[in-house]
């Protein structure tokens, strides 16, 4: 599963990846828009955040040895823009009580028995050197598929918390969520993501 898209991976001779290079910028921008839209739920706000992030990145352009480092940096800027947008919006948001979007207790019932103990086949097993996986492209493919498999609102709050880096209170304000509700959603998202990685990576062992 290590196929490459010929022609799309070319880097300029001499090393550095240029942000302004359309072959790099166009897919990057598309990924940024996708992520910003998922977080902000507003195409215009998402467009603005991406535009600002890219403008800031172009203005303060630094030299990066590889596309991965450059993407990480640009997404870092985008996270700040999204966090700002979410914080600002929290003052204007209407009480649109956004709750969890899974059936009542579905995750819990799948993982725990009536007494709250793990079902036998759901018990977390030990993962062998998980940190090593972070260097594998295939791991990130599985990881992203697992993230995208979460119910949409769970994915959104989980990303706000662990990727954008907002704290619980900021998320509750931005989404007019109760703290209890947020806690439940994060708990479920973590349970599901963990289970998905175990099933599709650490046990199934694509490695």
């Amino acid at each position: 599963m290590s196929e490459r898209m010929a022609g799309e991976t070319a880097q300029p001779a001499g090393g550095d990846v240029q942000l302004a290079d359309p072959e790099f910028l166009v897919p990057l921008r598309r990924q940024m828009i996708k992520f910003a839209t998922l977080q902000l739920k507003d195409p215009d706000l998402a467009e603005d955040a991406v535009q600002e992030a890219l403008a800031g990145a172009l203005k303060n352009q630094r030299s990066f040895g590889g596309r991965s480092a450059l993407k990480t940096w640009v997404f870092g800027i985008l996270k700040y823009k999204i966090a700002d947008a979410l914080r600002q919006r929290s003052r204007t948001v209407t009480a649109s009580s956004l709750g969890d979007d899974e059936d009542e207790g579905e995750t819990f019932a799948a993982l725990f028995d009536a007494r709250g103990h793990w079902h036998l086949d759901a018990r977390p097993t030990g993962w062998h050197e998980p940190e090593g996986s972070l260097r594998e492209t295939q791991f990130w493919r599985v990881f992203e598929a697992c993230l995208e498999g979460l119910p949409e609102r769970q994915a959104r709050v989980f990303m706000m918390r662990e990727f954008v880096g907002l704290d619980a209170e900021e998320i509750c304000n931005a989404l007019a969520l109760s703290r209890t509700n947020l806690n439940v959603m994060l708990h479920r998202a973590r349970l599901r993501l963990r289970a998905c990685l175990e099933t599709h990576w650490f046990v199934e062992g694509v490695r």
């Binding site: 880097q11 897919p27 596309r67 990130w140 992203e144 990303m159």
Partner: protein, 82 residues
């Protein structure tokens, strides 16, 4: 003493808030006896670490096929335009 579901809830919430002393003791007691929940705790930590270095789309899905770990092939003849 908390059950597994309750213990995973506490471990999840501990990422957003400090647990109370009572919660910490109860959780520790459970973890002493439950290897599955100990695994869960480590994996929760790993999820957070992975999210910190996650870059959306950086997974060889065709848009942007490779990370630095797999450099581009030397012949770039297939490249069009530019």
């Amino acid at each position: 003493m908390p059950n597994c579901r309750e213990s995973t809830r506490l471990m999840s919430e501990a990422r957003e808030r400090g647990l109370t002393a009572v919660e910490r003791v109860a959780l520790r007691m459970h973890l002493l006896m439950c290897s599955a929940c100990r695994n869960f705790g480590k994996q929760l930590h790993f999820l957070g670490a992975a999210m910190r270095v996650y870059v959306p789309g950086e997974n060889g899905d065709g848009n942007d096929a490779n990370s630095d770990a797999t450099p581009a092939p030397p012949d770039t003849d297939l490249k069009t335009g530019g």
